[in-house]
């Protein structure tokens, strides 16, 4: 009985604690008073926590502008990612299994192209399109559905919609796009939520694209802003950690929304169920 308890709860809890530890240290680190030398012994909680670091951040950089920019980018990119990923996933779902396997391999090959290979050459494209220093280049990853993982997630979820339903809808006169929107998508709402969340974390953290394709400082996103903090006074660990906390917190909050589905006891069922409710 005891060993069962250990196997079922204590060991998992230890691992969970291990993985939660970095976040904990981040949060705790940000609560230390600014300018105090760091402790030389393990400190689970700072002796006198303060939010001084957070109040200083807006003085050092246009924090709220950066955050607003990030929010804007995310607000544009997440829906786009969801649309592209779901369209592609649906397309994948409709393919015969052999073609599907080929496309999946194609997705892996796409992964094979190193990011460094496309940064500069993409710039040329964006210049030709006249969109440098707008948010459009930041939407490019969204056009690519964030990552093949998200496409596969959708393909997986749509796999739960039987062929016969799609055919029934066709017989009733629905076009494919209407089938996608009215039959398929509503049945995978949990998957949509999950993809949206993953897309959120992806776009929120995107650092390279804004660095390369944005010129105007007042369009910068927060991920870039975080870089400026790194150069600051190196005793300001609390400040840096506060910056990290602000960078991480939205992702964590949004993720907590999705974990109900993604990390469900039965993620596949959770992804596919939920036509309603």
């Amino acid at each position: 009985m005891i060993s069962r308890l250990i196997g079922r709860f204590v060991v998992p809890a230890l691992f969970a604690a291990l993985f939660a530890a970095p976040l904990w240290f981040m949060a705790v680190g940000s609560l230390r008073p600014v300018g105090l030398p760091p402790p030389r012994t393990l400190e689970i909680f700072p002796p006198d926590p303060t939010v001084a670091a957070y109040t200083r951040l807006p003085e050092l950089m246009p924090l709220f502008r950066y955050l607003a920019n990030s929010a804007l980018v995310v607000a544009l990119a997440v829906p786009l990612t969801v649309v592209v990923a779901s369209l592609t996933g649906f397309g994948l779902r409709l393919l015969a299994s052999s073609a599907r396997r080929r496309v999946t391999i194609g997705l892996l090959v796409v992964l094979l192209v190193p990011v460094t290979a496309v940064w500069a050459t993409r710039f040329e494209l964006f210049r030709l399109a006249g969109v440098v220093d707008t948010y459009i280049p930041l939407l490019a990853p969204a056009m690519l559905a964030g990552s093949p993982f998200l496409v596969l997630l959708y393909a997986w979820s749509f796999g739960g919609v039987p062929n016969t339903q799609l055919e029934a809808a066709r017989l009733e006169g629905a076009r494919w796009i209407a089938i996608w929107r009215r039959v398929a998508l509503p049945q995978v709402r949990p998957a949509t939520l999950a993809v949206a969340v993953l897309a959120f974390t992806f776009h929120w953290a995107n650092f390279i694209d804004p660095l390369l394709y944005l010129h105007s400082g007042d369009r910068y996103t927060y991920a870039l802003g975080l870089q400026f903090l790194r150069l600051l006074n190196p005793t300001d660990w609390p400040l840096l950690m506060a910056g990290c906390v602000i960078a991480t917190a939205p992702c964590v909050l949004v993720f907590l929304l999705a974990q109900r589905i993604l990390l469900n006891d039965n993620p596949l069922v959770a992804l596919r169920s939920g036509g309603r409710r």
């Binding site: 970095p22 494209l125 950690m241 960078a247 992702c251």
Partner: protein, 280 residues
């Protein structure tokens, strides 16, 4: 039809730039001017004589050789450990996934702190068990270990895949096995792992690619190649050449090499797997 937008995006945003990039590999393009001249295999000759490239290659291969198995072990181990439904199970899983949502830069900054020799929690933890700790980022080996350690945390995607794949396995099989006298360990060895094999192979391939190429930002921010080029992984080296030392064409060539290496490693993996006959 539904694949069209994505297909167009892939062609425009990946295939075309990548092709251009490949073209540049045989020029003297610096990235600063716009009149690259064809120089044939000169870059290749340079590459063959480049000691730093060899260092970089070694660093990358070491990283892949250690990091991929460890990440896989962590993702699979935790995935299987936490797959069974239990009260609060979702929260355990959430904890494991959370490091994955930390933005790359923040993760690296955080690990600068975690690996700090005197103030960092890691050495302090080691101190609790009486170990003096390491100057993590100062020694070539420990710096590599540090990067690997950092990248052991964001394993969420693989973790989820394993969770889902495990849940897809038929519970009946386990009951059948139990009736035939198979204990939990035997079930793991004789059922779970063989049945998950296709998924695991997919994960290995994906992780290999990712580890070789994409986990660039955190490594870049954490060590930027130091110390003594021990963590000058190929993407970092490419980045330095292409963007810092005006060696755009040279960087492009190394990019090709990187792709080739990835392809070779993956092919080798798939061949091995075929020999084991886990995929029919």
């Amino acid at each position: 039809m539904f694949l069209a937008p994505y297909g167009v995006a892939v062609v425009l945003l990946i295939a075309l730039p990548a092709l251009l990039n490949f073209g540049y590999a045989f020029t003297d393009h610096t990235g600063l001017t716009r009149d690259p001249q064809f120089v044939g295999l000169a870059n290749l000759r340079r590459l063959l004589a480049d000691d730093f490239f060899l260092d970089s290659l070694e660093a990358s291969l070491f990283h892949v050789a250690v990091s991929v198995p460890l990440r896989l072990l962590a993702a699979v181990g935790l995935g299987l450990l936490l797959a069974a439904p239990r009260p609060g199970g979702r929260w355990f899983r959430t904890a494991v996934y959370l490091p994955t949502v930390i933005p790359d830069v923040a993760l690296a900054v955080l690990f600068l702190w975690v690996l700090n020799p005197l103030y960092g929690p890691l050495n302090q933890l080691l101190g609790l068990v009486g170990h003096p700790g390491f100057t993590w980022l100062a020694e070539p080996t420990t710096a590599r270990v540090g990067v690997i350690l950092m990248l052991l945390f964001p394993i969420g995607e693989g973790f989820i895949v394993v969770l889902a794949a495990r849940r897809m396995l038929d519970g009946r099989l386990y009951e059948a096995a139990a009736l035939e006298g198979c204990g939990p360990f035997g079930q793991l060895r004789r059922l779970t792992l063989p049945l998950l094999a296709p998924v695991l192979v997919l994960l290995v391939v994906r992780d290999t690619i990712l580890t070789l190429q994409v986990n660039f930002v955190p490594a870049y921010v954490l060590t930027d190649g130091r110390p003594a080029n021990a963590t000058q992984y190929l993407p970092v080296y490419i980045f330095d050449h292409a963007f810092e030392f005006s060696g755009f064409a040279y960087g492009a060539l190394i990019t090709i090499v990187l792709m080739a290496i990835s392809a070779v490693i993956i092919t080798a993996q798939l061949l091995t797997v075929r020999r084991w006959r886990v995929l029919r």
